[in-house]
């Protein structure tokens, strides 16, 4: 499936370790921003899809 997986390797840009540090600093704030998504209940519909599958599989 790897679309775009043959990107050239030369354009590495910023130092990798430093990039990771800087991205983690953004990630911490993104987690705060999306806290409400994690804390709200998962839609019942999603759980029902899985539950119906398990009932069919278990009823075999």
């Amino acid at each position: 499936m790897g679309l775009m997986s043959n990107q050239p390797e030369k354009t590495k840009g910023p130092d990798l370790e430093e990039a990771r540090l800087r991205q983690q600093a953004i990630g911490v704030k993104l987690r705060q921003m999306f806290d409400d998504v994690v804390n709200e209940p998962v839609p019942d519909e999603f759980l029902d899809i899985l539950r119906r599958h398990d009932e069919r599989a278990g009823g075999k």
């Binding site: 790897g2 354009t11 590495k12 990771r20 899809i49 599958h53």
Partner: protein, 264 residues
């Protein structure tokens, strides 16, 4: 163990990832739902060599990567907030690598399993994401610092990030004059200035005129903690690690409304 037991604990997080990736909760949920339906119908399966959480993101990736990544609008997608807009500017596959590691906390080898990528490709994608973020956030910077050696250090690291230093002010008066000449997109400020004036006062003057992200870099953090602290501000203690300052700059700009190129 059924799908429900294996996957339910991870659903809040894959919904968060989907929201961040697509810029929209309804769109993100549609792909989560499609992934779960594919699993329930037997059209997709959880690779047995992966942990349930990694396997769920892998299935989500095959569903979204097959359609969503190709369909998304090229510009200004997302829920309209500035951080979302900035995320959407990162090309899809680099955005995935960035979000899987920085937001979802997967290590690079897990991200490689999810994206069916080599570890080398993950490194490349992370670097590309960073280059894109740097380009998006590039702005004009005012440094308020009275010690020339420190000012030069700060100037060098700011330039390494691709920003332009428009002025270095050594006093409150110079700082106010500098912003009158050119409105910066970011202010880096010391607190104790040459003529006995205060960087905090300088920043209050500036924030009274326009909204700009501010990072205080100071050997006297207690002055900022005890006094009236202007918002929005970040605080770094001297002596500073260059990486810390760089990380704070990226964080301040990424989450500031209308920061970046269009600073004015």
């Amino acid at each position: 163990m059924g799908l429900l037991d294996r996957l339910a604990p991870h659903l809040p997080y894959v919904r968060r990832y989907a929201r961040a990736l697509t810029g929209d909760q309804a769109a993100g949920d549609a792909y989560v739902r499609a992934s779960l339906e594919a699993l329930a119908a037997g059209e997709a399966s959880l690779p047995p060599h992966l942990t349930p959480r990694v396997a769920l993101y892998y299935v989500f990736h095959t569903i979204w990567g097959g359609t969503g990544a190709k369909l998304e609008p090229s510009e200004d997608g997302g829920d309209g907030s500035d951080p979302s807009r900035r995320l959407m500017r990162i090309p899809p596959r680099s955005r995935q690598a960035f979000l899987l590691t920085a937001l979802e906390g997967f290590n690079p080898s897990e991200a490689a399993q999810i994206l069916e990528a080599s570890p080398t490709e993950i490194e490349t994608l992370i670097s590309q994401a960073q280059a894109e973020i740097d380009a998006e956030l590039a702005t004009d910077v005012l440094i308020i610092e009275d010690e020339p050696v420190i000012a030069a250090d700060i100037e060098a690291l700011v330039k390494e990030l691709g920003h332009r230093v428009v002025d270095i002010a050594a006093t409150r008066t110079e700082a106010v004059e500098a912003v009158a000449r050119h409105r910066p997109g970011l202010v880096l400020a010391d607190i104790q200035l040459a003529d006995g004036s205060s960087g905090i006062d300088a920043v209050k003057d500036i924030l009274g005129r326009f909204n700009v992200p501010v990072i205080f870099i100071t050997a006297f953090p207690e002055r900022l903690l005890t006094g009236e602290r202007p918002e929005p501000t970040f605080l770094i203690t001297k002596p500073f690690q260059p990486e810390t300052v760089k990380a704070a700059i990226g964080q301040a700009l990424f989450f500031h409304p209308s920061a970046g190129r269009a600073a004015a």
